[in-house]
């Protein structure tokens, strides 16, 4: 349909009939079709900016709708949580905040009426342990291998000293959101995953904060995520990093080495142990990895050690220590996690007490991970966190009296009722007439009735003090009523947390669709003006009207990509599609070059020789693109399913550091020499030689120095670390200073005469001597050429500094690819439309994005590189560096558009008009390089948004589709930044030159 539409658009006679097909802004444009130019530069810019703004609005609407992040209630639970909702003692809460911790503790105990069941807590988190390993599945005991691996734990379960739960975790099953859920009882949104690398302090109401206000001394050993979540709350800590996934021994040894000392000392109230080894074992070899059994034995030893120490403490000091063994999530058969399958969400909550829990519990009790928060709060007598949606785990409280047990149910109910009231602000519970047995209520009314029911029963039970011990029936009824309320409220609230507001999503998608169609329409209208086409070889007019294979194919790429995005395995293996499509497109270019290269079809006999040479060099450049593209593809296997297969990077890593280092040096030297040659060639005789040489060589030398001396020193001393940081910082500074200086100064000083640039790249221009009349035109393209090269060079050097050493060769290959492509496109080939060329550059950029080892999972983001040259921890700067590293290739594609524009044969503009209209020049230069990436990206963005919405109930929505969506959003950002930079640089140059001409 769109192809057809485009063809219609190209015919003047039917131009008006199409106007009602285009929406909104474009209608005006088409109707105002004058004689020559319907779309002035200003209009084009305004409409593009408008479309981009609409897109940003739509995207943010959709994201806020799809990934809810906000908690419902703000603030922190205090004294009021021990009183029924509605009768909040505001005067009390003010005093509470000023109370010293021990006073607060006794006050809480007094008002709650339930003594703490235990005095201190050991929270042992075993990362990634599926509950199945300890408790079995569906009532069956765990497999023999695992039972034998954990003899002590199994004996505890058998003796009734331990109570185990299958604590179902909510997706995304990634460590940080799960820790938050466990400690606050609230289900966070997906965006938590995005911040998993970027952990920030956890400010919502949570247990650790409550314990801290309580005056507890806390010790943390293990995953450093805790330290980031709760800065300055731990008395002692030893954090380990979870990013070295290959390490399964040291990471746990670093936790256990302090254990003996900590167990001996008595000053702490909460000891957190977070063992990462088991998760790493899973990542290496899956559930049945040979390392799994030894790891479970190790964990069993730790449990044994803590438990025997707890028994000793119990006897010696009369302090009850609760050991709570939990896992944050499970793992699939292959050891991955993140999604919502049973294997991943089946996490463990195992309460181990020094005394008995009363009876041998069954091992197949189902609960939710959020229940842990409420249970721990009630066990230790702190207020339940405000946004908790969990319910208490009753089997742990068997040592309490009946009244106390009812009291804790009441406390839990009050807290959930408060949360419900926040959802239904207009509803008053007292208004409903709830007759028992009437089940027809729904929503707020139903919860009210359930609650009032239970509360009334409890009141009457409390009033008849004397007779209640005789009959257990009343008691059981009250428990039943409370559980009824708690379970339904909890279920409703957790559904509420994952609900998606349909209005936001729909308006977001509508806005994105609108902006997408605006951009596409702008492209059509712009393309119809066809600034580059039909200008010279008249005999090719018939060729121009026809659709060439490469044009059809580059449109087909869009549809193929969109349709492939609907399949989760294609999203995981997206690198294959990009590579396959890009290479196929270049093979088509290759065929096309051959097609138009026969002597028989040449128009100007005197140019035969030159033309032949030209087509030879075109063929070489395509071959260069093809070869470097293939090497790039082989560099990183990428993806998920075949990531283990051998590739060049793995081979090099096995070969040791010497080949990597030499490759790195070669790439740096080649990048510097290629760029220097390219920039100095046309400007050899000009006065900029010194400036360019210095601005290219000096940072290049510093990067070489950095790579040689500081990059892979694993055992760094503090002093060399500091030097490395300073060096990296000075490289950043130098690169940005030189870029800025060249960007701003060059247009002012560029000589306005016909220089070599044009001749170098555009041999066919010699046919048109009249183009040499306009000196400003040369100034413009020379300046853009210099600015473009400077930006490309700085970007490449930055990448060589920041990327992993193994990726330096791919950076060089990318540069070669862009250069060769630009060389291929440069001679103003009348057979290739300009939008195809820009699209091809964009595709090469995207293929290169995956060639650098990126995938659609968040795991491949290079976190280590984001700390190069950062002296103090700054999330913002690290985030920017991470973005620079990840989007190296698409950004390079956009920057190379500058060079592309400067070497493109644009004699048409000078040709058609005596006086060069700079608005027209600008429009011609900036039009496609900005519109095509924006348009392509908007199509991908809106298509993928719709796919994500359709897939919202898919099993892999959290593990595959949502991370991909984050990447799509980041790509959009990258395109915005890149295109606006390109547009601004050209506009600035143009304005400066206009000023100079008028002088």
């Amino acid at each position: 349909m769109r192809l057809h539409l485009f063809q219609i658009l190209r015919r003047k006679s039917v131009r008006y009939s199409i106007s009602n097909l285009c929406i909104g802004a474009c209608i005006m444009n088409i109707k105002t079709v004058g004689n020559y130019s319907s779309l002035t530069c200003t209009k084009l810019t305004l409409f593009t900016i408008l479309a981009v703004l609409i897109q940003i609005t739509g995207l943010s609407l959709f994201i806020t709708g799809f990934f809810p992040v906000k908690p419902t209630l703000s603030g922190i639970s205090g004294l009021e949580s021990f009183y029924p909702p509605g009768s909040d003692p505001t005067d009390l809460s003010q005093n509470v905040s000023t109370l010293p911790p021990d006073k607060l503790k006794s006050l809480y105990q007094e008002v709650s009426g339930v003594p703490p069941v235990f005095d201190r807590l050991v929270l042992m988190v075993i990362d990634g342990l599926p509950a199945e390993f300890v408790l079995g599945r569906d009532g069956m005991p765990p497999s023999k291998e695992f039972v034998e691996a954990m003899p002590y734990t199994q004996s505890l379960l058998a003796k009734g000293l331990a109570t185990g739960y299958h604590a179902k975790a909510a997706p995304p099953t990634v460590t940080m959101p799960r820790l938050k859920a466990m400690l606050s009882g609230a289900v966070g949104g997906f965006l938590d995953v995005a911040f998993n690398f970027n952990t920030q302090a956890f400010l919502d109401d949570n247990l650790i904060g409550q314990f801290f206000r309580f005056g507890w001394k806390m010790v943390m050993l293990g995953d450093e995520t805790w330290l980031k979540l709760f800065p300055r709350m731990f008395t002692r800590y030893d954090g380990v990093s979870s990013f070295f996934v290959k390490d399964t021994i040291q990471v746990d040894y670093n936790v256990s080495r302090h254990l003996a000392d900590e167990l001996k000392s008595t000053d702490w109230d909460l000891l957190i142990l977070h063992y990462l080894g088991l998760d790493h074992v899973g990542h290496i070899g899956g559930r049945n990895c040979i390392l799994m059994t030894p790891k479970l034995i190790e964990m069993d030893e730790v449990i044994k050690m803590i438990h025997s120490s707890a028994i000793q403490t119990q006897e010696a000091e009369q302090r009850g220590t609760l050991l709570l063994v939990v896992s944050d999530h499970g793992m699939t058969e292959s050891g991955n996690h993140g999604g919502s399958s049973y294997e991943e969400t089946d996490s463990l909550a195992l309460f181990i007490s020094p005394g008995t829990f009363g009876y041998t519990s069954e091992t197949n009790i189902k609960a939710f991970q959020v229940d842990i928060a409420a249970t721990l709060a009630l066990l230790f007598g702190v207020p339940i966190p405000k946004n908790n949606i969990g319910t208490l785990m009753a089997d742990v409280f068997t040592s309490l009296t009946d009244e106390q047990q009812l009291r804790i149910l009441e406390l839990n109910s009050w807290q959930l009722l408060r949360l419900l009231q926040a959802q239904f602000p207009e509803v008053e519970c007292g208004r409903f007439s709830c007759e028992s047995g009437s089940g027809g209520h729904d929503g707020a009314e139903m919860f009210c009735c359930l609650y009032l029911d239970a509360a009334a029963l409890f009141e009457s039970w409390k009033s008849k003090n004397s007779s209640r011990s005789v009959d257990g029936d009343d008691y059981r009824n009250i428990v039943l009523a409370y559980r009824n309320f708690l379970n339904s409220a909890s279920k409703w609230l957790s559904g509420r947390a994952t609900d998606k507001p349909i209005g936001l999503l729909a308006s977001g998608i509508a806005a994105m669709l609108l902006s997408c169609s605006m951009l596409v329409c702008l492209l059509f209208v712009y393309g119809r003006d066809a600034p580059f086409e039909g200008r010279q070889h008249l005999s090719h007019i018939d060729n121009m009207q026809k659709w060439h294979l490469d044009e059809i194919f580059s449109l087909a790429v869009i549809f193929i990509l969109i349709s492939s995005m609907g399949s989760s395995s294609m999203v995981e293996e997206e690198q294959y599609i990009w590579h396959f499509m890009t290479m196929s497109l270049y093979l088509l270019f290759f065929r096309k070059t051959l097609q138009f290269s026969t002597p028989g079809r040449l128009l100007h006999a005197q140019n035969v020789n030159r033309k032949q040479k030209r087509s030879c060099s075109r063929i070489y450049s395509i071959v260069a693109v093809l070869i470097s593209g293939r090497i790039l593809k082989g560099w990183h296997q990428g993806g998920v399913n075949w990531a283990h297969l051998p590739d060049i990077s793995k081979l090099l890593e096995q070969a040791g550091s010497a080949p990597i280092k030499s490759l790195q040096l070669i790439s740096v030297l080649l990048v510097i020499s290629i760029s220097l040659t390219a920039i100095l060639w046309p400007f050899w005789k000009s006065r900029f030689v010194m400036l360019f040489t210095v601005s290219f060589l000096f940072p290049g030398w510093l990067v070489l120095l950095y790579i040689l001396n500081y990059q892979d020193s694993i055992v760094t001393s503090a002093s060399s670390d500091a030097i490395a940081t300073t060096l990296a910082q000075s490289i950043y500074a130098l690169l940005s200073i030189f870029t800025v200086v060249i960007l701003f100064a060059i247009p002012w000083f560029m000589p306005l005469k016909n220089s070599k640039t044009f001749r170098l790249f555009c041999l066919s221009s010699d046919i048109y001597p009249q183009t040499q009349r306009e000196p400003l035109f040369w100034g413009f393209r020379d300046s853009i050429y210099a600015i473009g090269w400077c930006c490309v060079f700085s970007w490449c050097l930055l990448q060589l500094l920041l990327q992993q050493p193994i990726n330096s060769m791919p950076v060089l290959l990318l540069l070669v690819q862009f250069l060769a492509s630009i060389w291929y496109f440069s001679d103003g080939d009348p057979h290739t439309r300009q939008w195809v060329e820009v699209a091809a550059l964009y595709y090469v950029g995207m293929a290169g994005h995956f060639g650098l080892g990126n995938t659609n999972t968040l795991a491949t983001i290079d976190v280590a590189g984001a700390y190069i040259g950062v002296s103090s921890h700054s999330t913002f700067i690290s985030g920017i560096l991470m973005f620079i590293i990840t989007y190296a290739s698409p950004m390079l594609a956009l920057l190379s558009m500058l060079i592309y524009v400067s070497v493109k044969d644009m004699s048409a503009i000078v040709d058609t008009q005596d006086d060069v209209n700079f608005g027209h020049l600008l429009k011609t230069c900036v039009g496609y390089p900005c519109l095509v990436p924006l348009g392509l990206n908007s199509i991908f963005l809106v298509a993928y948004t719709i796919i994500l919405l359709l897939m919202r109930n898919h099993l892999f929505v959290w593990s595959v589709f949502s991370p991909k969506y984050l990447y799509v959003c980041a790509t959009t950002t990258c395109i915005y930044i890149g295109t606006s930079f390109v547009a601004l640089a050209m506009t600035y140059t143009c304005m400066v030159l206009v000023t100079r001409r008028s002088e």
Binding site: M570, E573, L587, R591, L594
Partner: protein, 255 residues
């Protein structure tokens, strides 16, 4: 016809016994096609003699597959390299011997010269095809070497060899057929359409490779070979249709 049906049934049960329904159904469909195509050709044979050659090439492919399956008990799934080897040997002999009959300028160029240049074109075409496949992402490595070699030789037989034997080293003819895709006359159609069909078929045949269906036929170069042969057969059919159509038009005009 009846015996053909029986054979097919026999094949189905034969292949099904190792419970690989997917592969079996693909194979069976494939063979069905291979059997039916020559039948159609034989039916048309009554009307025009120009297609005799394409019938014979079809028969070449069929007999190669048949021989591979029945005499050597090879198939693409278990022994891709050997099967490809057998197929290209049989197909190459049929194609070279047949197409050389249609060489350009038969007065200046002897039959054996045509055979000779076809033999020269075979490795040259194989190199081009192998390079193309590798650029598009075919795996490189010692364990894939034999498969890639035999696959590219087969592709060369399907694409390059006919042109080599007919045109020799005439650049204009090669350019017309492969770069411009402007065939004129029956012979051009016979070369151009099957060759393009084979290349396009192979291109589409690579599509299932990155999917995680874990089927044995997703391996390089099995599905690519299937795609190429499908495309080749489709190209053959189309070229045949074109020839018949043009003949018919000519007869109509003459009348």
């Amino acid at each position: 016809m009846r015996s053909l049906g029986l054979r097919l049934q026999d094949e189905i049960s034969h292949t099904l016994h190792d419970n690989q329904i997917w592969e079996a159904s693909t194979l069976v469909h494939f063979k069905l096609f291979l059997y039916i195509v020559p039948l159609i050709f034989i039916w048309f044979y009554q009307q025009t003699k120009t297609v005799s050659k394409s019938i014979q090439t079809q028969t070449g492919l069929v007999s190669a597959f048949w021989a591979a399956q029945n005499f050597y008990s090879l198939n693409l799934l278990s022994n891709p390299a050997e099967t490809l080897y057998l197929i290209w040997i049989v197909e190459a002999s049929v194609v070279i011997l047949l197409y050389s009959l249609f060489r350009h300028n038969p007065d200046k160029c002897s039959y054996f010269k045509a055979v000779g240049r076809a033999l020269l074109g075979l490795p040259a075409g194989a190199i081009v095809n192998a390079l193309g496949a590798i650029v598009l992402g075919a795996p490189v490595g010692l364990q894939h070497l034999r498969k890639t070699l035999h696959w590219s030789l087969l592709m060369s037989v399907l694409t390059f060899v006919p042109a080599a034997s007919i045109f020799g080293s005439s650049w204009t003819d090669w350019h017309r057929i492969f770069a411009q895709t402007k065939p004129i006359g029956a012979i051009d159609y016979m070369i151009c359409l099957p060759a393009h069909g084979a290349a396009i078929g192979a291109w589409f045949g690579a599509w299932p490779m990155p999917l995680d269906w874990e089927r044995p036929w997703q391996e390089w170069p099995i599905c690519v070979t299937y795609g190429a042969i499908f495309g080749y057969l489709a190209g053959m059919m189309t070229s045949f249709g074109f020839i018949v159509f043009k003949n018919w038009r000519r007869h109509v005009k003459r009348d």
